[in-house]
């Protein structure tokens, strides 16, 4: 809970160099590492079982929720989970353009109204070819063009394959947005609309929240969820099991209900990646829209009338 107190040494030194103004800010509330937590007693007692088996009573004011993810330093968040290589498989034969992935993602990350980290694109590659619905996330490329061009290391590639953004460092030059061929990145053009709870929580690259004005955001593969061993929000929100998430090293992916051997799935279903010719080496694989569960037209109900195919 004391995330703010862990001022990285480098930042602290830099703050010192930048002069007293920064130093004063660093020591004022709520960042003061020496301040005692003020507890106002409520008078209401709660019975608890202590570690050695005794029943004890404490004031309700001392009860604090235990964070479900241990606090990680910025350096740990930048490193990622050792031994993992996260991948996603998107089965186009199952997508009906319900956009549940999108709404779950927007809700959980409090994406600015109108913007989306996940887009479900109505694709038609050419005249006389079959249209299909294509959910599009960040590709978490192994050769990420966005990371190449970032001048301040604000967007980076982790050892577990995830490409993240550090909104505390991003200078808002938007070079990464120009560099990304998948147009996956969005920018916080205005002050983000956040619930108070999120606005008050300390920033983390893994939750990508709270988002910050003047910085870039994008699909992050929900590393806070995967660290807990849970699936990203889009995967669990999809009722049709379109998204499968997993670890390349374990050679398995799952949508929650079904689990597949990744290599078999790709081999049997002729999986492919987007824009292979660019050499970006995405971590997101697509299964072609053959033997579909739904006709393309079934997805049109959910499409705004003003949005047409390419």
């Amino acid at each position: 809970m004391n995330n703010n107190n862990n001022i990285p040494r480098r930042d602290f030194l830099l703050g010192g160099l930048l002069g007293t103004a920064a130093l004063v800010e660093g020591c004022s509330e709520p960042k003061n590492p020496f301040a005692q937590d003020e507890v106002v007693l409520t008078g209401e007692k709660v019975k608890l079982l202590s570690v050695d088996g005794q029943i004890i009573e404490i004031d309700r004011a001392f009860l604090k929720p235990v964070p479900d993810v241990p606090h990680l330093s910025n350096a740990e968040e930048r490193q990622g989970v050792a031994g993992k290589k996260f991948i996603m498989v998107i089965d186009l034969a199952r997508c009906k353009n319900l956009k549940k992935c999108q709404s779950a993602c927007n809700h959980m990350h409090q994406v600015h109204p109108g913007q989306n980290w996940i887009k479900v694109l109505g694709m038609e590659d050419a005249d006389h070819t079959a249209p299909y619905w294509q959910p599009t996330t960040c590709m978490h490329c192994d050769e990420p063009p966005c990371v190449k061009v970032c001048p301040v290391d604000a967007t980076f590639k982790r050892q577990d394959g995830i490409v993240l953004i550090d909104s505390d460092r991003c200078i808002g030059c938007r070079f990464c947005m120009a560099a990304c061929p998948y147009s996956t990145r969005v920018f916080n053009w205005e002050e983000p609309v956040l619930t108070q709870e999120v606005a008050e929580q300390p920033y983390s690259c893994e939750t990508s929240m709270p988002q910050k004005k003047g910085t870039v955001g994008k699909c992050d593969f929900c590393p806070d969820m995967t660290r807990k061993g849970e699936l990203p929000h889009c995967v669990s929100a999809c009722p049709n099991g379109v998204f499968m998430f997993g670890d390349l090293n374990e050679d398995s992916v799952t949508n929650g209900a079904e689990t597949f051997r990744f290599s078999d799935l790709i081999k049997d279903r002729a999986g492919y990646r987007l824009m292979e010719d660019l050499g970006t080496k995405p971590s997101v694989y697509y299964l072609p829209p053959v033997n579909r569960n739904f006709p393309y037209e079934a997805g049109l109900e959910n499409e705004n009338s003003e949005e047409t195919k390419k």
């Binding site: 109108g114 061009v149 998948y182 990145r185 003047g214 390419k310």
Partner: protein, 437 residues
Amino acid sequence: MNTSSNDKQITDDLMPQKFSKSGMIWVGILSTICVIGAYAYYRQLRYGLGVTSMRDYVSWGIYISNFVFFVAISLVGSLITAIFRLANVAWSTPLTRIAEIIAVSAITFASLIIIVDMGRPERLYNLFAHGRLQSPIAWDVIVITTYLFISLFLLYVPLLPDLKIMNQQKNKNSAWQNKIYIFLGSFWKGNSEQVKISDKIINILCIMIIPVAFCIHTVTSWLFATTYRPGWDSTNFGAYFISGAFLVGAGGVIVAMYVFRKHYHLEKYITELHFEKMGRIAVMLSLIYLYFNINEYLVPAFKMKKSEAAHLAELFTGEFSIMFWFAIMVGMIIPIFIMLFKKGRKPLPMFITGIMIVVGAWFKRYLIVTPTLLHPFLPMQNVPDNYKHYFPSWEEWAITMGSLAGALLIVTFFVRIFPIIPIHETITEQNEKDHSK
């Protein structure tokens, strides 16, 4: 006796003059535009980049095209000062300072406008605290800073003999002017040792500035060419940008030459010969730029790859076609035809041509940046309708116009304080000419 009276005449002609009435109005208008721009920037700082019309697809707008324009026009400093000097082009002497102050003011505002484009300008120091050399932005920061300092020195060192002349005529200047002259140039005695050092410095700077000038615009073109996008993904970009930059810079100098000549009655110093010569150079530069434009557009248009096709169609016949053909015709082809004729290289037609080149070049930069962003690889869907179009908001126009006005203000104030045509060099050349007779 004759020479010294001649010298005095030259000095009197070229001394900086107080603003006339029209000069005051000019400064007033420019300052007003700057103030409006500053207010627009205040709004942008307060409400975020949301006050602009840029959105997720068009994430770079006129700020970036204006930045490219400024970097482009600043290249002229290296052309006229350095390349001409190293090539022993004698007639360019009266133009060197004009070119150099245009370079300095343009590159200053290029740096400012790129900060305006940042979402978090207060984090600029991250470029140094966390800078990564692999990013073309880091290269741009390095070369633009280098170019700014070399240009400042190239403006300053040749100014020293003139500062001495100004210091000798204290009674003719206002007190604040004398303070500036003393601060900047009181150490300059003009003895042979100092002249030797200064000549050496100028020579070194002239050689240094040429590769740096090529770097600033090549790196600026790489901000685009290092991406995959149709219209930017081009190996032609570096040369294409540099040729365009020399052209717009030459256009800027031609306009400035005409204005200074007219306003300060410098007909004796900026002669018709200068317009004639600059005209010939501008024709050559236009032809080179046209050549790179043909490479840039017609080769992809021959193939019409899917990703390029939509972009090119939009430029040639679509939404941007009027602006595209305006920029090509007014910025290149019509100027070539005007300046090919001897009558076209007279001062007034040259002035008009210069304006055409500069205006055409500004729109050309807009066309390089924006249409490409409206043609991403994946279709523009799942976004509000205003994300699919771009027309700059009033704040963007105000800031852009403010930056252009600010660059002109720097030039204007410079001319108010310092002689825009090098006095000392003009006198020396005059005397050499007399002697050879």
